[in-house]
C-alpha cells in the first residue's frame, strides 16, 4: 500500500451520532486516520496535501450497509465484489456486509477466505462476509460457523431461504453464542408464502397474482423472538416490512431481548400499488406492503424501534427479470439509491437527520461489532460527504452496478453523495 495522502475537509456540517455531534467544523486525516477535528478554519491548510471544501455539505461517518448481495463467487454475470463495491461507494457506503447465497454458498471457511482475499484485491470499500446458518442454505444441518467466524464472518444468515425447522434454528442460535456473532433472519414462513409473489390482499386478487400474506412475516418474527428469549442469542430481523411484526419487536425490545431490526429503503418508500403494471422491478421478498405498513415502518425508524437502514442490494440480470412476474427473481439493486431515497424522509421531517445518520453508521457498526461508523479521533478515516440540496436524476448510465434492476430509474432525487473516503483514501467523487 502506498502512503495515504493527508486530507483536510473544511467547513462541513459534521454529524456523528457516535459522539452526539452535529457541528460545523474541519476534519483532518493523516495516515488514513482521523487526527483532528476543530472549528471551521482552525486547522491550518498547510497541514494537508489535499483540501476538500465541504461548505454547505454534510460530513458523516462512512455509511455501512449490512445487507448486500455481491454475487461473487459464482454469479458474476449479476455482480462482482469489484462492481458491487464500486456501486456502494458511489452510494456513499464505506462498508458492506455480503450475504451468503453465492455459488458455492458461503458455508465453509474456504469460501469465506476466498471472499476476503478477493475483496483485498478488487474491492474499493470494506467487505464483511456473512456466513450461512445451514449448509447450502438447505435448512438441514448447521454450517461450519466457528471456522467461518475465524476467517472473518461477522454474522450468520440463510437470507432468502428462511430456516423453517425451529429446532435447527434454536440450535444455530445456541451454537452461535460461542462465537459472538448475531443471526440475521429473513423472516418469512416459507409454507405460508407458498408461491406468493406479492403482498396478499385485495390488490393481489385483482391482479391475479398469488399472495404472500403479512402473516408469513409476523409468524416468523414471533418465532425468532421466542427463540431469542430461549437462547439469548442476538437476533437481527432483516428487511422487516409489516406493522404487526413491528409490534412483536417492540414487545421483545421492551422485555430487554437482544433483538434488532432493519428496514430497506424500498419498504420505506414504495407500496404494493407499484406492482400494478407487473413491472418485475417491484417484485421482492418480503413483498412491498400497504400504505399502513410503510407509515408504521417510517415511524419506527424515527422512534429507534428500527435500528438500521440496509439496502438488500440484490443485482439480477435481464434473464432473471425480463420474464413473467411469476418467474422473475426477487429483489432490486439498492446501494446507489439508498441515500437519496431515505434522505427524502429527512427532508420531509419524517425522520430526523440524527436518527437517519445513526441508522446508517454507528448502529450497523455496533450490530456487526465493527470499529467503524464513527469520526472519533484516532479511528480509521471512513467518511461520506453529501450535498443535501443537489437535485439529480437517476439515468441508466449512472448505474455503477453490473445489473440495472432498479425501479427508481428516471426518479428525481434531492441529495447527492459528493465524496466517499475509505481509510483516508478518496474512492469516489462526484
Amino acid at each position: 500500500m502506498s502512503e495515504v495522502p493527508s486530507v483536510l475537509i473544511q467547513r462541513g456540517r459534521i454529524v456523528d451520532p457516535s459522539q452526539g455531534l452535529d457541528t460545523l467544523g474541519d476534519l483532518l486525516i493523516e495516515g488514513g486516520k482521523i487526527v483532528a477535528m476543530d472549528a471551521p478554519g482552525k486547522v491550518p491548510v498547510t497541514r494537508a496535501q489535499r483540501v476538500i471544501d465541504a461548505h454547505g455539505y454534510w460530513v458523516l461517518p462512512g455509511l455501512i450497509d449490512i445487507h448486500v448481495h455481491l454475487r461473487e463467487p459464482g454469479l458474476e454475470y449479476k455482480e462482482t465484489i469489484e462492481t458491487g463495491t464500486r456501486a456502494a461507494v458511489a452510494g456513499g457506503f464505506t462498508s458492506v456486509a455480503c450475504m451468503a447465497n453465492t455459488q458455492p454458498v458461503n458455508d465453509t471457511p474456504y469460501v469465506t477466505a476466498f471472499i476476503r482475499e478477493k475483496a483485498k484485491t478488487s474491492a474499493v470499500c470494506r467487505v464483511f462476509p456473512i456466513g450461512a446458518v445451514t449448509k447450502g442454505l438447505r435448512g438441514e444441518e448447521l454450517a461450519e460457523i466457528g471456522g467461518m467466524v475465524a476467517e472473518g464472518v461477522k454474522a450468520l444468515s440463510d437470507d432468502g431461504m428462511p430456516v423453517m425447522n425451529s429446532y435447527l434454528m434454536r440450535k444455530a442460535m445456541d451454537y452461535a453464542k460461542a462465537f459472538g456473532v448475531p443471526i440475521i433472519s429473513h423472516a418469512e414462513d416459507a409454507n405460508l408464502v407458498g408461491q406468493g409473489v406479492m403482498n396478499e390482499g385485495p390488490l393481489s386478487n385483482e391482479l391475479g397474482l398469488r399472495g404472500n400474506p403479512a402473516a408469513a412475516e409476523e409468524i416468523m418474527v414471533a418465532r425468532e423472538i421466542a427463540l431469542c428469549r430461549l437462547t439469548r442469542c442476538p437476533v437481527h430481523i432483516a428487511h422487516l416490512s409489516t406493522e404487526v411484526a413491528l409490534e412483536h419487536v417492540k414487545r421483545a425490545k421492551d422485555a430487554g431481548l437482544p433483538v434488532t431490526v432493519e428496514a430497506s429503503p424500498h419498504h420505506l418508500i414504495l407500496t404494493e400499488e407499484s406492482v400494478r403494471g407487473y413491472n418485475t422491478n417491484f417484485k421482492m421478498a418480503p413483498p412491498l406492503r400497504t400504505e399502513r405498513d410503510v407509515q408504521a415502518l417510517r415511524e419506527a425508524v424515527q422512534s429507534g424501534l428500527v435500528d438500521v437502514i440496509a439496502t438488500d442490494h440484490a443485482p439480477h440480470g435481464i434473464v432473471d427479470k425480463a420474464v413473467e412476474f411469476d418467474h422473475a427473481a426477487n429483489g432490486i439493486i439498492g446501494v446507489q439509491t439508498a441515500v437519496p431515497l431515505t434522505l427524502d424522509l429527512v427532508h420531509q421531517n419524517i425522520i430526523s437527520l440524527y436518527k437517519w445518520v445513526e441508522s446508517l453508521t454507528i448502529k450497523p457498526a455496533k450490530l456487526l461489532g465493527l470499529d467503524y461508523g464513527t469520526l472519533r479521533i484516532g479511528k480509521e478515516a471512513d467518511i461520506t460527504i453529501l450535498d443535501p440540496g443537489s437535485v439529480w436524476t437517476l439515468s441508466e448510465d449512472l448505474i455503477v452496478s453490473k445489473s440495472h434492476n432498479s425501479p427508481f430509474l428516471e426518479w428525481k432525487f434531492k441529495g447527492q453523495v459528493k465524496t466517499t473516503i475509505v481509510g483516508g483514501r478518496v474512492v469516489y467523487e462526484c
Binding site: N205, L207, G208, L209, E324, F325
Partner: protein, 315 residues
Amino acid sequence: MVRHLLAASELEASEIRYILQVAKYFAPYVSRGETIPLLQGKTVVNLFFENSTRTRTSFELAARRLGGGTLNFASTGSSVQKGETLIDTAKNIQAMRAHCLVVRHSSAGSPTFLSQNISVPVVNAGDGFHEHPTQGLLDAFTIEDRLGSIAGKRVVILGDIAHSRVARSNIYILRKLGASVAVCGPPTLLPPLSKSLGVDYAYRPEEVLGEADVVMALRIQLERQNRMQIPSAGEYTRFWGLSSERAKLLKKDAIILHPGPINRGVELDPEVADSPRSVILGQVSNGVLVRMAVLGWVCNPQGLEEWLARGGHRV
C-alpha cells in the same frame, strides 16, 4: 397508440357496450355465412402457453370470419423452461409480421408485459388467475341476449373464485353494466376482493340462489386443487354443486352459465346442465361474435367505424 385488450378492469362501460353492440350487428352476417372483411391481409397469431381448445378455436374462427389469416403457436409450460424468454418468443412472432397477438399464459400479467414490449395489439385470452376479458364479454352478451338487459340483475358466481380469471373479468363487466354480483364458494376459494367492487359474499349456495337471475357455475379445477383447499370432489358437490335440488331454489326465469369445460356431476348436475335454463352452448356461439368484435376493435378500429357507417349501424 396501439389498442390492446388486456383486462376488463381497464374497459370503460361505454367500450363494453360498444363491443357488445358490434357483436350484435355481426350476428346476422355470420348466420348468413358472410365474411366481414376487417382483417383482410392481416394475420392474427394465437400465442398459447397453456392448453386450450375452445378459446383458441373461437379466436381462430373469429379472425377468419373477418377475412384474416391465423397462425397457432402453442407451447405448454413456461417459455423460461424452454430456454427462450417470453419477450424473445413474442419478438420472433412479430418479426414474422403478425398483426395481432392473442395470448394465453399461466402467469398473470404476461399479456401486459408483452404489450409493453411489442408494437402490435395484444388480446388477453386468459392470464393465470388474473383475467379472461373476452369470456366476460361473451357472458355479458349471453345474459343480455337471454334476459334483455343486465342492469338491475342479480348474478351469482358459484365455485372457485380465487383461481378464476373468468370470475374476475365477469365481475368487472357485470358491475359496470349495472348488475349486482354475489360470489359463493368454499371460504378457501373465496379471496378478499376490493370493497370498491361492491361484491357480496356467501359461503353456502342456499343463501343466494333464491335471488339469482343468473347463476354462473365455475369449473372446479381438480387438477390444480389440492386437499388443503377442498377435502374431496364429493364434498364439494355435496355442499356447492348445482344439483337439481338446489336448482329448484332458482326463480322461474333464472339462467345458468358455465365457461366450460364442465365437470359433469361435480359442479353441475348433468340434468341441470342440459335443462332449458342452461345457456352454455349459446355462450360458445356468442363467443365467436364477441371475439370478432374485439379483434375488429383492436386491429382495425377505423375500418370497423366505416363498416358500421356503411351498414347504417349506430353504436
